[in-house]
């Protein structure tokens, strides 16, 4: 017995409201991030990640209030991603009660930002989010590149090398999303996940593509992920976090039940 593999539900929040509908039977307001976070906490979520997809920075303040309210009621680790561009953004989220922030585009634009943030706030709260897409053609050795802008903009940066560089710069964890799989419900890109997990010393969270509970199991067993993140399978009430954990436990994965 030892460290449990983690299940992390992810909420996409737009101007203070959870997008992608939620169908919890006894929640009146299906878009309220606080209510949904509380529900996941009760189901046994190991952490909760909020992804702020608010377009305008004026409205980002809303996210701060969401985090404040959740942190006063839910006593598990909270991560906030989206719009983290400078130290002041990190400070604001940590003060609101977030435990970690996920840095994505800002890391690509200015890698030293990760270094500075890790030195200032500690590696334990700096997650680097990586959106990767396979760029190798058939018959070529597998290769993935970093994409920004929701997978639209290629950067030419090799994903495995990038992950290693971010860890050297002080990232305490890697949140890895396969842009090829995101939203497809076909399961994680296991080869990508494994390549990154084997290349870095810090924990890796697999994301993108979960459609079944078996996909979560595969992410841990074949992808060698330390944690699995999923959104829609939990949002739409297909499965509870507890069901997911029981499925993992049944296949010999250590979880917190």
């Amino acid at each position: 017995m030892g460290l449990a593999k983690r299940i992390i539900p992810c909420l996409d929040v737009d101007n203070g409201r959870v997008v992608k509908g939620v169908k919890f039977v006894d929640i009146r307001d299906a878009g309220d991030p606080v209510e949904i976070a509380k529900r996941y906490d009760e189901q046994g979520a190991d952490e909760i990640t909020f992804l702020d997809i608010t377009a305008s920075s004026d409205e980002r303040e809303t996210m701060v209030h969401v985090v404040e309210e959740v942190a006063g009621q839910v006593f598990i680790p909270l991560t906030v991603g989206g719009g983290i561009r400078q130290s002041a953004d990190i400070r604001r989220m940590l003060n609101a009660g977030a435990d970690k922030v996920a840095i994505n585009t800002a890391a690509v634009n200015n890698p030293e930002f990760v270094q500075e943030a890790a030195q200032r706030f500690g590696s334990q709260c700096i997650v680097v989010a990586i959106d990767a897409k396979q760029v190798s053609g058939e018959g070529e050795p597998l290769r993935w590149e970093i994409f920004t802008h929701g997978g639209r903009k290629p950067t030419g940066i090799d994903a495995v090398q990038w992950a290693q560089r971010m860890v050297d710069y002080g990232a305490g964890e890697i949140l890895l999303t396969s842009m090829d799989r995101d939203g497809t419900k076909q399961g994680f890109d296991l080869t990508l996940t494994r390549a990154i997990s084997e290349a870095v010393s810090v924990p890796v969270i697999a994301s993108g593509g979960v459609g079944t509970l078996q996909h979560l199991v595969e992410g841990i067993k074949q992808g060698l992920a330390d944690a699995v993140l999923a959104a829609s399978i939990f949002h739409f009430g297909e499965f509870t976090v507890e069901q997911a954990k029981r499925a993992m436990a049944a296949q010999g994965i250590e979880v917190r039940l």
């Binding site: 460290l3 449990a4 334990q124």
Partner: protein, 215 residues
């Protein structure tokens, strides 16, 4: 009314700690402070901490809080959390060697980056991050209503190694067994984060608010 001070030295998970204490403190006032007189006026004190230990110790000293913590450690219930535990030791390997407060004899060591599970040979990532089991090795009022081997949330790359086994209150296994909770008189300190450990964590804070500092 009873009171608990959360020492504010600019490093940390203060908000999480004070929110969790407020959640369980029915008849206790929770204050967050860096002022010696305010801290010393409280019935009990929490020393939180995250980040690099050199910065933590430097801030504690800059604010003149080292003497305050020493005094609290002699007089009233003191709870150290995460780097707040590590700060109580003699010294840490972190940041090329850092002198700590020397309240509990022992040192702080880094996890090997090449850590493996001795049974499965699975590679173990550093930081040790997530929910791991806390094996209580002594009976103690702080463990009241907390099941043996309950899972608490950890996130750390360094662990404490007390000079003697006497202070060890619990251990956790991550490639090997390390001390995750120490106690010495009216001092209790944990490596994990009770404020992020859901029900069992809140129970531990509840126990702290009820603890008179005796074994």
């Amino acid at each position: 009314m009873k009171s608990v001070a959360v020492i504010d030295y600019g490093m940390g998970n203060l908000h999480s700690v004070s929110k969790a204490l407020e959640h369980v403190a029915d008849d206790t006032r929770v204050i967050v402070s860096s002022k010696a007189e305010e801290i010393l006026a409280c019935d009990r004190v929490v020393l939180p901490g995250v980040g690099a230990i050199r910065d933590c110790i430097a801030e504690i000293q800059r604010l003149g809080l080292d003497e305050v913590i020493q005094q609290v450690a002699r007089q009233k219930p003191l709870l150290g959390v995460c780097v707040g535990l590590q700060a109580l030791m003699d010294s840490s390997e972190e940041n090329d060697g850092t002198q700590c407060l020397g309240i509990i004899p022992g040192k702080v060591l880094a996890f090997d980056k090449n850590l493996h599970d001795p049974v499965t040979n699975e590679r173990l990532k550093v930081p040790h991050m997530g929910w791991n089991q806390v094996n209580q090795v002594i009976k103690h009022p702080m463990w009241r209503n907390i099941p043996q081997d309950a899972r608490f949330y950890f996130v750390h790359s360094y662990y404490v190694q007390p000079k003697t086994p006497e202070p060890v209150a619990a251990s956790t296994s991550y490639g090997f067994a390390f001390a995750c909770a120490l106690t010495q008189g009216n001092v209790f300190a944990v490596q994990f984060h009770p404020e992020k450990s859901q029900h069992v964590g809140l129970t531990l804070y509840q126990n702290f608010l009820n603890w008179d500092g005796a074994d």
